[in-house]
Symmetry: C2
Subunit: 519 residues, 2 copies
């Protein structure tokens, strides 16, 4: 009763909507523990402090996004490095120790500048108490390209605080500068509130995520028994809610196998007037092979793939039924009514747990505006297959190559054809009820007043699997932003409420995880 009345009085003062959820939600053993933590004050004090620091957090984000850290633009590489140094300043100011800029060497080809250095990885520790659990948090400080000419409403590398929509607009606001800074803000809030930090924190912030995370895998392997020794779990905040209203925890990702079909014949591009009709054109062959891969309903036509997909269980079906998602959200996201499925469950399952095949384009063919009467001598068709349990990459590649070879053979063409894997990345599925996920679920209830939806994602975050495999720990994907943030698009934004509640979520997660009996 003491607990309740104390909380009640707090609520009256704060009118903190988040805490109300504690009363609405079912009281479990964990919840009681959480409340007792609240009783001790930290969550409450932390949440208050986070609210209080809101102008500071927005100010720091504004400073960070002003640095155009576009990793794919070689000329902006100094800006990426500048942002790493900005983070180092912040970390030092907050009292992080063992702050290191890990150099990754020269960027491998293709690059224009053959001496281009990869941006460093920022490692830092906050606390090293052997009695506490150690959480590694990953984020990336590089961003996608952006310019006013792309159609932004305001300068992309200047934070615009839209008071009417209550959003923070800038390149990187949601992907991933905002979430990355969130972890630093959690430390600041603890420091300023005079509350002991619940875990040992290790940061691993990279500057090449938008350009293939070059060098990161090696670094993780290299530091596994050194800087990362003793890590109990990894938390990545670099994805998004499914929609715009309900927070989610993400426990699965599809993998991706990317292929190319190269068809070549003549020694050089030919003129279609002189050669059209008398030579076998590589494009004609390629289009026929590409046509044999997938139909307009999205059905993959390569034999043997369906058989590799794990069957849907009844328990799994129930998961989809619970999730808040609507056809309208898909239509809004794609900006069209071009969906292949109308039912929520079908949409989610085909995004998360079934493979898909997309034809991306053709290298070597005419691709500009206008009209060019070329017969391309060598064309390279690109497509990828999103993979799911229990598809094995090697087996899949064999099926793909056999299929393409067989179709090409049936054409009886004098051209040459080769199909090959460009890269693959495995799917990832975690136990959504392990200690880390349970801590995050509880934190979600504390902050947002609702049970999170358990989602998977259709895309890949290869680093997830690397952390899990190399560090042999669980990995949690704990998104801060919403599904409509426009991460790689124009007018990228982060809702102010997602920013501030996201910081609270991180804080509450660390406290809950610290108190969890298991790792």
């Amino acid at each position: 009763m003491v607990i309740y009345s104390l909380l009640n009085s707090t609520l009256k003062v704060q009118a903190n909507r988040c805490f109300l959820s504690l009363f609405r939600s079912k009281i479990t053993k964990n919840l009681v523990r959480s409340m007792s933590m609240s009783n001790n004050g930290p969550s409450n004090k932390i949440f208050n402090k986070i609210d209080e620091l809101k102008p500071t957090f927005i100010d720091i984000l504004a400073k960070a996004v002003e640095i155009p850290a576009v990793s794919s633009d070689e000329s902006l590489r100094p800006m990426v490095v500048k942002k790493a140094h900005f983070l180092v300043e912040q970390l030092n100011e907050l009292g992080f120790h063992d702050v290191q800029l890990k150099e990754l060497g020269i960027q491998p080809p293709p690059v224009t500048n053959s001496n281009l250095k990869l941006p460093p990885i920022v490692l830092a520790r906050y606390g090293s108490d052997p009695k506490k659990k150690t959480v590694l948090v990953y984020g990336h400080y590089d961003v996608q390209p952006a310019s006013l000419e792309d159609g932004w409403d305001s300068e992309p590398f200047k934070l615009t605080v839209d008071e009417s929509k209550q959003v923070l607009k800038a390149r990187g606001s949601s992907d991933d500068t905002g979430p990355l800074l969130g972890w630093l803000h959690v430390v600041r809030a603890h420091r300023d509130a005079g509350i002991e930090f619940p875990v040992n924190l290790i940061t691993c912030f990279e500057g090449m995520e938008e350009s293939g995370s070059l060098g990161l895998d090696n670094l993780i392997a290299h530091e596994a028994e050194k800087y990362f020794k003793g890590v109990d779990t990894v938390c990545i905040s670099d994805n998004y809610w499914l929609g715009t209203k309900k927070p989610v925890l993400t426990y699965g990702l599809r993998g991706c196998n990317y292929y190319q079909i190269i068809v070549e014949g003549p020694a050089a591009d030919l003129h279609s007037g002189m050669f059209g009709g008398i030579i076998a054109e590589p494009m004609t062959d390629l289009i026929q092979i590409m046509n044999s891969l997938v139909d307009s309903k999205g059905k993959i036509l390569i034999k043997g793939i369906d058989e590799m997909v794990a069957p849907v269980t009844e328990k799994e079906m129930e998961l989809y039924e619970k999730i808040e998602f609507s056809l309208e959200e898909l239509q809004a996201a794609s900006g069209s009514k071009t969906e292949l499925y109308k039912k929520k469950e079908d949409i989610l399952m085909h995004r998360w747990r079934y493979p898909s095949l997309s034809l991306h384009g053709i290298e070597g063919a005419f691709s500009s505006a206008g009209a060019k009467t070329v017969i391309p001598a060598k064309v390279n068709g690109k497509f990828s297959i999103r993979t799911v349990p229990d598809m094995k990459s090697e087996k899949l590649t064999q099926l793909v190559v056999d299929h393409c070879n067989s179709v090409f053979k049936s054409l009886n063409s004098p051209n040459r054809c080769k199909t090959e894997l460009i890269h693959d990345g495995d799917y990832w599925v975690s136990d959504p009820f392990n200690a880390s996920f349970s801590a995050a679920a509880k934190a979600t209830k504390e902050v947002y007043g609702v049970e999170p939806d358990y989602t998977r994602e259709g895309g890949s975050i290869p680093i997830t699997l690397t952390f899990e495999k190399v560090l042999k720990t669980s990995v949690l994907l704990l998104p801060m932003g919403r599904g409509d943030d426009g991460a790689h698009s124009v007018n990228e934004k982060l809702d102010i409420s997602n920013y501030i509640n996201g910081i609270k979520l991180m804080a509450a997660y660390l406290h809950n995880y610290a108190e969890s009996p298991e790792n």
Copy 2:
């Protein structure tokens, strides 16, 4: 007899291999007239003078090709204009009159510089004797781009005289600076030899041929009754022998209808991880439509097109049998053994008198090196159909659009699809036995000692049809270079023998045409 002995003695002195042909060829009424002209001396004297001026001709070509008159490169536009002025100097020096640089106004979009002026057309007259026939000669002084990085063995904008191969190597040597200068050299040879010029000559030299001949159609229409009034025939020297050994006269060209199929769905490009499998991808639909157009054997699959093609006559078949051409020449030209036909007749007929369909590429899809997991929102498939008698452009377009619409409809796709004509240019077939062709055939015998092959070309030279239609005259295509000159490729060359004999051919043609009883 007097004639023969006189010629015989001349031959002994000159050992001119060309003249020998006069004795080998069948004596016709025309030939007797031609020989009587030779008796009067002009051909003989002209040919000698041309041989004598060879160093001068090579020197002038060297000066001309040094100007990098690349019409597709906006930054080199001043060079294109400089080359026009170079020609004006040459024309003035030779005594041409009424020399005009016809301005064509501002280049229409797409251009970077919205005030970019089109290069001028160089008009000039040589003689205006109402008793003489008037021949309009067309050539272009602009060239294709070229750089050492493309793989040239020597600087492309510097004439390299390869003494071992006896070729003149430079961008523009064969396409079309060499042939264009040929007409000026004919005037010089007459002037220096003191021989009366047999016709009134009008030049029409343009600087945008490699970039769509912008403005030329309008100029021809505008000058038809002014500068070009009284033109009896048009001669274009801007194509090539079929092979490398036998001179040809060209009496036909295929037309070209260029189409695009636009398929669009989502509002913007989407990520294949998030959307793969749940939306109908425009690329999948487009590939299926493109796949339905043509098969790997080159057979056009659009119904109704075959029925439009004029049937082969027995007389026509005989023409192909006579022509010197081999499968090996096709293989050498394409740098591969990817031919669809082995028999000479089949190859020639499918290059010249049957339609063909080439898939050129896709705009809007991923087209770079590497791997990008994009679902393109809007893709634009480009293809063209080479047209032949009796295909009508409008009817063809209707068949194409109906076909694409019908295939797209069968896909039941929620995307939108539109097929449209980008541009069309009619085929052209001339009477290969009219006065102009007969004069050229006779000239070929005089210079090369053989009957020319009568060829058509698979490609289009739209200006041919414009001249024929607007000036209501015959048009002759009289090539100077060989089939392996590499007109748009690296190491473009013109054989020295083709250059010098080509000038003789032009001279003899003008004399023969002047003496022809008809126009």
